[in-house]
Symmetry: C2
Subunit: 251 residues, 2 copies
DNA sequence: CGTAGGGTTGATAGTTTTCAAGTACAGTGG
DNA sequence: CCACTGTACTTGAAAACTATCAACCCTACG
């Protein structure tokens, strides 16, 4: 993996080593990066769905609006993530996506994914893994919403984001920026924003973490992980069992 | 689609028409069907994950056990469904799978999926769509757990199963077998079984549906759908936008 | 006839929401 | 530098929802 590898290439290398030709194929997806500001909309529920995108800088989230005026946040996307994968075979968007911070995304049509299916089994397997990993994160969220109380839910969400951020930046310390309002936490966890506020107060009183503005400071990593019922397994994966490593003339 | 098409072939035909060679490739996955009885375990959390399977008859469900002794049901699988897709790139199972009724499943190693990646772009796209559809169902469940009360949750779950059953059997009427105990409903919806009981009573008093033993009778389909906040979109998909139809010499 | 599993019902306790009022802070324009 | 404004957050009290515990019923089945 060289310095000039793009964000998506670095992301894919988590799964399997890539040959030079595969990197090239992959980078062809990342043509035309577009800068977006915080709060800008990538797409809305009901829009035609013909493309997906990668987010190479900044944060975003996806959500569904509910009839009664509330909404459910479905995913939080970090740099390197692929957005819109699950709508591959759908005509219209079933969830909206909005930037949380300024950032850069690269859009490409669904058709390009099919090109990859035709040209690289390894990249196909990786896309398939990413889809599986997104499913795993969703099932973990299902557990979080179904079987944990507000205290545990909140601890879990913070800890998951902490782990995902550390995968992107291994140097991340125990204090880091987390640009999510309490309302976003509430909409992701199925709580009211008022209760999220009380819950962060409680987490501070328990000396587990401090949230001040958009900064999280983890005070007791081990105990936070334990309170959250967190087990990292669902974020960890590899294709080694399925794919042989590439012989890498041009890695 | 001919009479002798296997269950998985019929299921895949929902997405795109298949050529004879593709059908054959697909059916090679369904070698060695195994009969299982109700309550039999396909695999448990922590088992090595090297294969997936299709369920060609009967019902199953997947679940995660929680430290505190409760559990979360993640999916309910009906005939034709693919089980274990999200663990494709994982070494170990992160959820257990158990039969709800007697049934028949076909196991095959992950490696066979990669073979399909190598040999048919169309089938690859379909597998990818199925993975996307499973994600869509999970996000719908997320909304259900996060933003609906017990009454709406239960209505939604019943209605989703009703729709999925009708896709398998278009002749399905408003009264049908649903082999899920109230405890399973509870574990799927993040409720206590006691409250599920009260909720079904309430649904009956509202003349929406009757649950007697394992039989559901829908009394007011339109109002049930509306109470549930149900919109079928997340179950509907096709690959027509992405893939041309096959020319079908041997369909 | 006895038993076990699943389901129902009532009383009580715990968790979370809602409503309402107030605080803190960043950005703006004077 | 200051007042003004909007957004995010905090706090309290009351209401709504759901869990828990315990007792009981019902039915299939040996």
């Amino acid at each position: 993996m060289s310095e000039k590898d793009s964000c998506i290439v670095r992301h894919f290398c988590h799964y399997s080593q890539l040959g030079a030709d595969e990197k090239e194929l992959l980078m062809s997806l990342e043509k035309g990066p577009v800068s977006l500001s915080a709060h800008e909309v990538l797409w809305e529920e009901g829009d035609l769905a013909g493309e997906l995108c990668t987010i190479s800088a900044g944060w975003a989230y996806s959500y569904r609006n509910i009839d009664d005026g509330s909404r459910q946040v479905l995913d939080v996307f970090l740099p390197g993530d692929v957005i819109g994968l699950r709508e591959f075979a759908f005509t219209r968007r079933l969830s909206g996506v909005v930037m949380l911070t300024d950032g850069v995304v690269c859009r490409f049509p669904h058709r390009n994914i099919v090109d990859i299916f035709e040209r690289s089994t390894r990249l196909t397997s990786i896309f398939f893994s990413i889809s599986g990993r997104q499913q795993m994160m969703l099932t973990e969220r299902l557990v979080n919403l179904g079987r944990r109380n507000a205290f545990e839910k909140t601890a879990h969400m913070v800890f998951e984001l902490y782990c995902r951020l550390k995968r992107i930046d291994p140097d991340l310390g125990l204090s880091f920026e987390l640009p999510l309002s309490q309302q976003i936490f509430a909409d992701a966890l199925g709580l009211s924003s008022v209760h999220v506020s009380r819950t962060f107060t409680e987490l501070r009183e328990e000396n587990l973490l401090i949230r001040d503005r958009n900064r999280i400071t983890i005070l007791d990593e081990k105990r936070l992980e334990s309170v959250a019922g967190f087990s990292e397994g669902y974020l960890e994966e590899s294709l080694q069992s399925v794919l042989p490593e590439a012989d890498l003339p041009g890695a």
